[in-house]
């Protein structure tokens, strides 16, 4: 399958649902493809593409007004999530499709409305065992298992959903959020 065909196939799956068949598990994707969409990236599961994605996320978060540490945190979380997809969902295959949707989002906080950035990462790998999304204890000194911890430390919301053969990882970072 060529990269283009793979992407077309993924897009077919990711096409926004009609109103009558919209189900709860499609809400995250629908939100990402609504008017708040800021940036959409389509890439293959090649680790060499992580660097340009980081570059795009760094610029986008700067543009949205995140502080320098927050920009680094969001970029790190997306990089680690993509790394997990490449390693664990696609088992190192280099030609599998991944999509990244970056959208504005908003929530009502203690001091009024808070704006934020929602990032939805979609892949067509096998379902992820939710038990493996907990990460490991940090008091163990051993290599590996740190990516999930970095993601949870960096973001305000981390969710996983499986829908129509697609893994969806939803990450949200709010501006000026207290974590």
């Amino acid at each position: 399958m060529t990269g283009v065909r793979a992407t077309q196939s993924l897009m077919k799956t990711l096409r926004p649902p009609r109103q009558h068949d919209r189900k709860p598990h499609t809400e995250a994707r629908a939100a990402a493809t609504s008017n708040g969409l800021l940036l959409k990236l389509e890439l293959h599961s090649d680790p060499k593409l992580l660097s340009p994605v980081r570059g795009a996320l760094e610029r986008l978060t700067e543009l949205l007004g995140f502080s320098a540490p927050e920009c680094r945190a969001v970029t790190r979380a997306v990089d680690e999530a993509l790394t997990n997809i490449m390693r664990h969902c696609y088992c190192g295959r280099l030609d599998q499709p991944i999509e990244v949707f970056c959208s504005r989002t908003r929530r009502r906080g203690a001091v009024g409305s808070e704006e934020g950035l929602e990032i939805l990462l979609c892949d067509r790998g096998p379902p992820v065992d939710p038990a493996k999304l907990r990460g490991r204890r940090l008091d163990e000194i051993k290599p590996g298992g740190l990516g999930l911890h970095f993601i949870r430390q960096s973001m305000d919301v981390v969710q996983y959903r499986r829908t129509r053969g697609t893994n969806q990882f939803r990450l949200v970072k709010y501006l000026n959020a207290m974590k």
Partner: protein, 110 residues
């Protein structure tokens, strides 16, 4: 990413520049473990002053280098951590298990 090695007294210093991520952390891991296990260099020193970004796979490579060094009674030293590198080592709570110095002189004098 680029990695090169130079030898100063009984230390091998790895100068790394660029980003360490899934695309190249295996190369870092291989170089470190070869230096420790095959050459048994008494001190392996990592110059990270030109590393702009390091991900969890890069941190895992450093942890492997550290563990291999400790197993053989050798020293494994880091210096010149960027803000990003320091952040990930702090997030993983691994900063305290490494010997970390600000610059090469301090690392070699330690």
């Amino acid at each position: 990413m680029q990695i090169s090695a130079r030898h100063v007294d009984k230390a091998t210093i790895f100068d790394i520049s660029g980003d360490i991520d899934l695309a190249n952390s295996p190369e870092v891991r291989k170089a470190l473990l070869r230096e420790v296990r095959e050459n048994r260099t008494p001190r392996v020193v990592m110059n990270l002053s030109k590393v702009r970004y390091i991900d969890s796979s890069g941190v895992a490579s450093l942890v492997e280098g550290l563990k291999a060094s400790r197993d053989l009674g050798l020293r494994f030293i880091l210096f010149g951590l960027s803000q990003t590198a320091r952040e990930v080592l702090q997030l993983s709570r691994l900063i305290k298990i490494f010997e970390v110095y600000d610059n090469e002189d301090q690392a070699l004098a330690s």
